[in-house]
Symmetry: C2
Subunit: 414 residues, 2 copies
């Protein structure tokens, strides 16, 4: 089927999913989890083909790791599907309402968005993740994964579709585009009137391409140029722990820190305490002139480019600032509105920072690594929005919904 | 100043507006209202130039009416500015929060969107309307009005900017592009990273141009192909009253009805009662074969095009259907997800309709004309969203906001 045919098919399934009650959706989720476990061998056989192709085309070891499934990973995927079944169904929630002076009764009701297009890169677990979050929230998804995972994604979709059919739901509720050409992505971006939203999940290149080309409304996710600002009043030990955790616990993810800013009055003490801890992870340090003066020749001079970059690696930029305001200006200039942190003991600094920083999540004395649907208590996450419309920060099931007004009268006219 | 310079200037004012407290914002709103009243003569002089130019270029009488200001209209605009001052300030509202098991305290706080671009057509009152709603909600606006109203818009903006300055707020909080070329609109649509949202207000042509060309996130407003479905169990008198009100009370607005659907079992009775009432307004009737059979030769045969069209005029399409489901399918196919109504006495029909119809506002036994910020109790309205992301239906002050998470800890790392 063509992209358009697949999309129309998905759209025709949307009213059925929107009306499906929680019991039926949960039954489908359990059936999907069981089917994944039952098909471990088949899935791993297809995954092996992807890995073989990836190796043949000389893809990096870290990408191959992200591509690789194992029995253990599949069982953990199945478990997470069951966890989604256990979450509250957001659909039907009454968000508000009133009776107007003329007697009209207005209710604002949470409903599914409809058809969610998702364009993503190598990790095949996203296929299951995105599909089940859409399913639980009454949405139909139209998935378009990367070419590296095409065999793994195809079988995962077949397995899920079989499970949907087994409980009487349309297979098209989880629709999948197996054309991995650039054209298929571009076509998706123009499906206005069929797709209600398009969510790109992947690197900055993919996200920018979707933002620049899509006429379908987009939710921009993921790019995180996050900062830790160490205020003059900071507890040095706490600041070092937070900075090291934010940078080194998992540098490849979007909530990892990329730049440390430190107040000049505390810079030497902080940097001397920090350096040996960064050295444990062999972190490459790019710093401003003062940082270089304090830490010496091991520091590579930092350029504007360093402050702009999301390293996603064991690299960090460090800048000494003379005031809280300078830190705030730097962050609002170079940040990507994802997650930003101040380490401070001063209540006024904390308040100024949280008020003036323009980001989805603003932290006081805690690592930026907590920006995550699970950590925020949303139960699951389809991505982390870095835009301001619709949803900001971690997007759980509620963020995959919209609302409608139901207005009941007895003949009111205007 | 170029569009880019104006936009950068607007952006630099955004943090100041975001931090302004309610008292200051209200002071600015009252100053704007007073300034409009004080400048009535100057504003009317500039408005007269626009009207003269419009007449010279042969613009329609209805457009000239929409363009025209009068002392009475200006006083009513000033009053509505004072009404906005009286509304609750949405900024700072705590939307939710929790303490996580690790002790992290999370609060979700309502904040302004930032810089709102608004592209609109002839009516100069939109200039004031949009500016004050943005101001009250802590946003900066970048306005780009139509060329027909350029003199009126320019002076209204000057008057508002003077008022802003008088209370110590930056004039750039209400920024205005006086270049009315197509290029200036196109440039606005590409201001990613400067504009946070773009809201087109006007006809379908403008809205489609913005949706198709903007890389800045758009909120789609206004196009309303609304239906009244008269169920087999409908009270005929109520159905006729609602249909006539929805079609004829103000046909040029987006919440006016464009098509009536009627169940075959009640079609003759309804149409015979309806026809004389439509005739009072000289409504041109386009109907299906059965409608034509019932009402005779006065009915023009309806085509698919009639069902697709937003007439915005004293014209209506009528179709006889054989079931509630046929009506729902018709509406979900041809509707624009704006406002849809069922007239019925049957509770199950009402429930099915409200569940299955995909629209911002679904009515049971009331006119679609109520889809309006004021009628919904939102106090004011920047537009009616017909998309599903961010906001749906009437958009008041809250819909001009986003949120951020503030996360407070005492050294938590992950």
């Amino acid at each position: 089927m063509s992209v358009l045919e697949l999309a129309l098919c998905a759209k025709s399934a949307a009213p059925i999913l929107a009306q499906a009650d929680s019991n039926l959706k949960n039954k489908a989720l359990f059936a999907i989890a069981d089917a994944i476990e039952r098909n471990v061998d088949n899935i791993l056989r297809e995954n092996a083909k992807d890995i073989q192709n990836a190796k043949a085309s000389g893809i990096s070891a870290s990408l191959i790791d992200r591509l690789s499934l194992s029995e253990k990973r599949l069982r953990s995927i199945a478990d997470s599907v069951r966890e989604v079944a256990g979450l509250n169904d957001p659909i039907g929630e009454v968000l508000g309402g009133c009776v107007r002076p003329n007697g009209l009764a207005i209710r604002k009701i949470r409903v599914p968005i409809g058809v969610c297009g998702i364009i993503y890169e190598a990790r095949p677990n996203v296929t299951v993740d995105a599909a089940v979050l859409c399913l639980k929230s009454g949405n139909v998804c139209l998935l378009r994964g990367g070419k590296e995972a095409i065999c793994s994604n195809s079988i995962l979709v077949s397995v899920m579709q079989e499970a949907l059919r087994s409980v009487g739901l349309p297979a098209a509720a989880v629709s999948f585009i197996n054309d991995v050409s650039r054209e298929s992505s571009n076509e998706m971006m123009k499906l206005n009137g069929i797709l209600d939203v398009l969510i790109p999940r992947g690197g900055a290149g993919l996200i920018n391409a979707v933002v620049n080309n899509s006429t379908v409304p987009v939710i921009q996710t993921g790019v995180g140029n996050c900062h830790i600002y160490v205020d003059s009043s900071a507890d040095i030990g706490m600041a070092v722990d937070i900075a090291v955790n934010a940078k080194c616990s998992r540098p490849s993810v979007c909530n990892a820190a990329e730049t440390f800013l430190v107040h000049s009055s505390i810079a030497s003490a902080f940097l001397f305490a920090l350096k040996p801890r960064l050295d444990e992870y062999s972190v490459e340090t790019h710093g401003c002139d003062i940082t270089k003066k304090i830490l010496g020749d091991c520091v590579i001079p930092a350029t504007e480019e360093d402050y702009e970059k999301e390293y996603l690696d064991y690299k960090v930029a460090i800048k000494v600032v003379d005031s809280l305001d300078e830190a705030i200006d730097h962050i609002n200039k170079f940040g990507t509105r994802h997650s930003e942190c101040i380490v401070t003991s001063d209540v006024f600094s904390a308040e100024t920072f949280t008020k003036k920083i323009d980001a989805a999540a603003v932290y006081v004395n805690a690592s930026t690594r907590f920006t995550d649907g699970g950590e925020f208590g949303l139960g699951a996450e389809i991505g982390i929005s870095t835009q301001k419309l619709h949803a900001r920060g971690p997007m759980g099931l509620s963020e995959l919904t919209t609302y409608k007004y139901i207005v009941s009268g007895n003949g009111q006219i205007r």
